[in-house]
Amino acid sequence: MVLLQPDPFLNELTSMFERSTEKGSVWVTLKRSSMKCKATRKKMETAGETIEYRCLVRATDGKKTISTSLSARDYQKFQASYATVLKAHMNALKKRERKDKKKTAEPEKKQASSKKKSEPFKKPAPPASKASQ
């Protein structure tokens, strides 16, 4: 488990996504952690010290695992960069096919209904003309 700073972590995460395009998965885990072992935490609690919690982010491609720890000061910057990385790489998901199908189906239906309406208008015209003659 490699613990990195937020920026190198994002770089590694990007290369993980790039390596896993044809085969494999990328797992990203978010967990709240104080980054201290249980014994230290209990000592701090009994001493009355406030424990500073951080957000632990882990990423793996099944073989290599990387991680980083975010504090309250730098998490928003990481959040924005992380969102950018995800948006850039998660493009294999299907786009709104149903709405596209509806869009293609609606003009077809309109054309079909307009054709049907035009036919009955044509039919009464010739018998009326014949009757006048």
Binding site: F17, S20, T21, E22, K23, G24, S25, V26, W27, V28, T29, L30, K31, R32, Y53, R54, C55, L70, S71, A72, Y75, F78, Q79, Y82, A83, L86, K87, H89, M90, N91, A92, L93, K94, K95, R96
Partner: protein, 103 residues
Amino acid sequence: MVYIASWDEFAERSVQLFRADPHSSRYVMKYRHCDGKLVLKVTDNRECLKFKTDQAQDAKKMEKLTNIFFTLMVRGPDADISEASGKEQVEQVASKKGRGRRQ
């Protein structure tokens, strides 16, 4: 493994689960580019909630939920999350519209 069909239900229940036990809850995301699938999991090692999708529109929702979890984890389970501020903004906008109609 409980797969939840509705996104809104998954989001609400996962936030509740985290708030009930922030120390042991975790949020996992798995993305497979070759299959075009995204799976989300929130668990406290007792109960597990999952959501799977292959739709691009769910990626945006996932991004918002991820931001919520970031805020909850760093600031604490009692923090005001962006969802709450988003809803408040909507309420303010609605009240402004109401005032406009009355005038």
